[in-house]
C-alpha cells in the first residue's frame, strides 16, 4: 500500500465514518439478497413490508382506543382516579422498550459477535475497534428498535396529543427511546460475553431458540384460556395498581418516562432534571459496556471458555468401573456390539445436551 493510501486510511479514521460504512454493508447485503431472491422470496419480503405497515395502522388504532378507554368515565368508576394510570403509560412503554430490547438483542448480538464469523475479518482491517462494536450494537438494536417505535410511538404520541403536551415532548420521546435502546444493547453485549465464557456460542443459540419457541407457544395458548369477561373489580384494580407501581420514584426506568410526562406538562425543572439523569445514566451504561466489551474481546477473554465442571476423583471412576464390569459383560452378551455402541453414543450426547441446557 502506498503512503498516500495509508494517509487516506488514517485521515478517514473517524469513528462515525466507519460506523456508516459498516452499516451500509448491512444494507448492501439486504439489497443483494432481495435482488437475487426468487420471485416467491421477493413477494414474501414485499408482503412482510405491507404487514409492517398494516401493523403500524393497527397500533395507531389500538393506541387511540386505549386512550379513549383510559379517559372514559366508566373506567374511572371501575378503578378510581385514572390520571395516575395515564401518567404511568410512558413509564410502561419505555420500561417495556428497555426490557424488550435487552432480551431480543441478546440473540442478535450472539449471532453478530460469535456466529457471524466476520469479527476477525473486520478487526484485521484498518477500522477502529470501537466503530466495529458500535456498528454491531446498532445492527442488533435497529430492527428491534423499529418494532418498538412501531408499537410505542403511536401510544406515546397519541398520549401527547390527547393530553395537550408541550411540543418538546415529541422529539424527546425519540431521544429517550434511543438512549434506552443503546444502554440495553450494551448490557446485552456484556451478558452475551459472560454466557459464552461458560457455554459454546452455538449451543447457547440452540437453547435460546428452543426457549423462545416454547415461550411463544405458551403465550399464544395461554391467551386462549383467559376469560376477560370474568375479571372482577378487585382483580382489575390490582392489575392497574401493578402497572402504576412501575412508576416508582426509585426506578431509573421510571425517571425516563416521568421526565417525558413532566416536560410535556410544562414542569421544566423536574422534567429536565430527570431527563439529564436518564441521559447520563444510559450514556454511562452504554460507554461502560462498550469499553468493557472491546477490552474483553481484544484481550481474548471474551472468546476463552471456562470449564464449570470439576474433575471427578479417580477412585470414584475406578470403583464405578469395577461395579459396572459384570453388568457390561452381561449386556455385551445380550446386545450386538454395533447396536450397543450407537445406544451408548446417543445416551452420552443426550446427557451432554441436557447438561449444557
Amino acid at each position: 500500500m502506498t503512503d498516500a493510501a495509508l494517509g487516506n486510511a488514517q485521515a478517514a479514521g473517524n469513528l462515525w465514518h466507519y460506523v456508516g460504512k459498516l452499516l451500509r454493508l448491512r444494507w448492501v447485503i439486504f439489497y443483494s439478497g432481495f435482488r437475487r431472491a426468487k420471485l416467491r422470496g421477493k413477494i414474501s419480503t414485499i408482503v412482510l413490508g405491507l404487514l409492517v405497515l398494516g401493523g403500524l395502522a393497527f397500533a395507531f388504532t389500538l393506541s387511540l382506543l386505549l386512550l379513549r378507554l383510559l379517559r372514559s368515565p366508566g373506567l374511572e368508576q371501575f378503578i378510581g382516579d385514572t390520571r395516575l394510570l395515564i401518567a404511568g403509560v410512558p413509564v410502561l412503554v419505555v420500561s417495556a422498550a428497555f426490557v424488550g430490547i435487552l432480551m431480543t438483542s441478546f440473540g442478535v448480538l450472539l449471532q453478530a459477535l460469535y456466529l457471524a464469523g466476520d469479527m476477525d475479518f473486520l478487526l484485521s482491517a484498518p477500522v477502529p475497534l470501537r466503530a466495529i462494536f458500535i456498528a454491531k450494537l446498532l445492527q442488533a438494536i435497529l430492527p428491534n428498535f423499529g418494532l418498538i417505535l412501531l408499537f410505542g410511538l403511536p401510544v406515546l404520541y397519541g398520549l401527547g396529543a390527547s393530553e395537550g403536551y408541550n411540543v418538546l415532548y415529541y422529539p424527546l420521546v425519540l431521544l429517550v427511546l434511543a438512549v434506552l435502546a443503546l444502554a440495553a444493547a450494551g448490557l446485552a453485549s456484556l451478558l452475551v460475553m459472560a454466557v459464552v465464557r461458560v457455554l459454546p456460542a452455538r449451543r447457547v443459540a440452540e437453547v435460546l431458540g428452543f426457549f423462545v419457541a416454547i415461550l411463544s407457544f405458551i403465550c399464544s395458548q395461554s391467551g386462549q384460556f383467559v376469560r376477560y369477561s370474568d375479571l372482577s373489580h378487585d382483580q382489575a384494580t390490582r392489575a392497574f395498581t401493578l402497572l402504576t407501581r412501575l412508576n416508582s420514584p426509585w426506578s431509573p426506568l421510571a425517571w425516563a418516562g416521568r421526565s417525558l410526562v413532566d416536560i410535556g406538562e410544562g414542569f421544566w425543572l423536574s422534567g429536565l432534571g430527570l431527563l439529564l439523569l436518564t441521559l447520563v445514566l444510559t450514556g454511562g451504561v452504554f460507554a461502560l459496556s462498550l469499553a468493557t466489551a472491546e477490552r474483553l474481546y481484544y484481550s481474548g477473554w471474551a472468546r476463552v471458555q471456562i470449564s464449570t465442571r470439576k474433575k471427578k476423583a479417580i477412585y470414584t471412576r475406578r470403583s464405578a468401573t469395577a461395579q459396572n464390569r459384570e453388568l457390561t459383560v452381561a449386556v455385551s452378551r445380550a446386545v450386538p456390539s454395533a447396536l450397543r455402541a450407537i445406544v451408548i453414543k446417543d445416551f452420552l450426547m443426550l446427557r451432554r445436551d441436557i447438561r449444557n441446557m
Binding site: Q10, F121, A125, V127, Y298, S299, G300
Partner: protein
C-alpha cells in the same frame, strides 16, 4: 537489517500471551524481512494462531511488542493494519454478497479511491480465475473459490505484509499451486509473507525461512540448512520437526499398531 538489504516488515519482541495461568505464547521474538516467505510451524495448540492474531492486531499481547511495516500494532493499529493483509484458516465471508461486492467493500474499508477499486477488482478476479463467478453470491462458491476470494480480499490494497493461516487447506492441487505462485510473486515484489501450515512439504519447498513453535515457545528459526544443523542428522523437515517438537515417539506407536 538482513544481508539482502530488505528491512524487517514483521518484528515481534518478547511476545507473551497468558490466559490466567495458561501460557499460550511465551517470549517469542523473530523478524520477517521484505522479500521473504516465512513458514510458521508447530503442533496443534502450540500457539501459532495466537501469535498470528497478535501480529494482525486481533489480540492484545500480555507483554512484548509487535511491529508491522515499522508500525507498533498496539500504538498505531490502523497504520499497521492498513499495511497488512490477513487470510484466516476458514473463509468466513458474507455469503449473500457477490465476490465483486465483497472486494468493493474491502476497497472501501481500506480507503482506496473508486477508480482504483474497480480496476483492482477486475485484476484480482482475473488473476484468481473468478471473473465469471464475480457477480454470483459467495454462498454458491466452492471451498476453493471462497479461499481464493479471501486471498483476493487480502490483496485488494496491495499489502506490504501478508499473513496467512493455513492457506492451502482444502484446496485442489491446481488452486494450491496458484496460491503458492502468487505468494512467491508477492515476496519477489518485496512483501513479507508469513504463513502457518501443517503441510511440511509446502513449508520446505516454499519458505525461505521457517520458525517452529512448541508449547508457546519458539524453539527454532532459520533456513532449511540452519534447521538441519540443529537436528541430529535429519535431512527432511518432517524429521527435523518431529525431532524438535518431541513427536518422534509417535513412530514407535505406529510400529506397535502394525
Amino acid at each position: 537489517m538482513k544481508a539482502t538489504g530488505n528491512p524487517p516488515l514483521i518484528e515481534t519482541k518478547n511476545l507473551i500471551k497468558h490466559y490466567g495461568d495458561k501460557i499460550a505464547v511465551n517470549n517469542v521474538s523473530f523478524e520477517v524481512y521484505g522479500g521473504e516467505i516465512f513458514g510458521f510451524l508447530g503442533p496443534n495448540g502450540a500457539g501459532k494462531t495466537t501469535t498470528i492474531k497478535m501480529i494482525i492486531g486481533l489480540l492484545q499481547p500480555t507483554a512484548g511488542t509487535v511491529k508491522v511495516a515499522g508500525y507498533d500494532v498496539q500504538l498505531q493499529p490502523l497504520l499497521a493494519k492498513a499495511a497488512s493483509g490477513y487470510v484466516p484458516d476458514t473463509p468466513n465471508l458474507y455469503p449473500k454478497l457477490s465476490g465483486r461486492e465483497l472486494l468493493r467493500f474491502v476497497g472501501d474499508l481500506y480507503a482506496l479511491d473508486h477508480n482504483r477499486i474497480e480496476r483492482r477488482i477486475d485484476e484480482l478476479l482475473n488473476l484468481f480465475d473468478l471473473y465469471q463467478a464475480g457477480d454470483d453470491p459467495i454462498d454458491s462458491y466452492s471451498h476453493g473459490m471462497q479461499q481464493k476470494t479471501v486471498l483476493a480480499a487480502a490483496l485488494m490494497h496491495d499489502p506490504r505484509v501478508l499473513v496467512l493461516d493455513e492457506p492451502t487447506v482444502g484446496l485442489d492441487p491446481r488452486s494450491a499451486r496458484m496460491i503458492k505462485d502468487i505468494l512467491r510473486q508477492m515476496a519477489d515484489r518485496g512483501a513479507a509473507v508469513f504463513l502457518s501450515t501443517h503441510i511440511l512439504e509446502i513449508a520446505e519447498r516454499m519458505c525461505d525461512r521457517i520458525g517452529i513453535i512448541n508449547t508457546g515457545e519458539l524453539i527454532a528459526v532459520g533456513t532449511m540448512d540452519e534447521l538441519r544443523s540443529l537436528g541430529k542428522g535429519e535431512t527432511s523437515l518432517e524429521d527435523i520437526f518431529l525431532s524438535l517438537t518431541g513427536g518422534a515417539e509417535y513412530a514407535e506407536i505406529a510400529e506397535v499398531l502394525r
